[in-house]
Assembly symmetry: C2
Homo-oligomer: 100 residues x 2
């Protein structure tokens, strides 16, 4: 399954936008921290690749919810910050003197 980020956001919009609006942006942010915590937990406890993938899907789903509430396109946001090169050193691959 290859999805562009617009399709991913649209999928989440169709399933969850009403819920996201009811919950509001601040609690949606908190839920995203929680999901990132679950992903960390799955990694640290060496869960199966399937379980870790499940948690990656969740973090991305919640990031889509945040972006939907803010009416921001995730690809646009990524490309604006990283236009094909490192945003600090301007190189690909990154040649920054410190590891970020």
């Amino acid at each position: 399954m290859i999805m562009d980020t617009k399709e991913a956001q649209e999928l989440m919009r169709r399933i969850y936008l009403k819920r996201d609006k009811e919950r509001g942006l601040e609690r949606t942010l908190l839920r995203t921290f929680q999901e990132l915590g679950e992903l960390s937990d799955a990694i640290l406890q060496e869960h199966s690749q399937d379980e870790i993938s499940d948690e990656i899907g969740d973090v991305f789903a919640w990031l889509c919810s945040i972006a939907n509430l803010l009416d921001i396109d995730i690809s646009d946001a990524l490309w604006k910050k990283y236009p094909g090169v490192c945003y600090r050193c301007g190189m690909i691959p990154c040649e920054c003197s410190e590891t970020p």
Copy 2:
């Protein structure tokens, strides 16, 4: 700019994979929490839409780095967990009795 998530992961792979490997998975997770904190901060302090978009781009970039280190495809992960419907109630839009 419309990117599919594979292109986004490939972009981050080409710019940052060497750095991501040097940093390692645990510190990459920590940096992602930090970026999510910066996004929260930008939202709570009512920064401009451009600044908030910048932080959304960063969170997604770091999620791509995590997924690259784990060799997980973000779209596959999302679609496996959310196959066009809510993963709990099976409906679109979600009809779960509680707001998740």
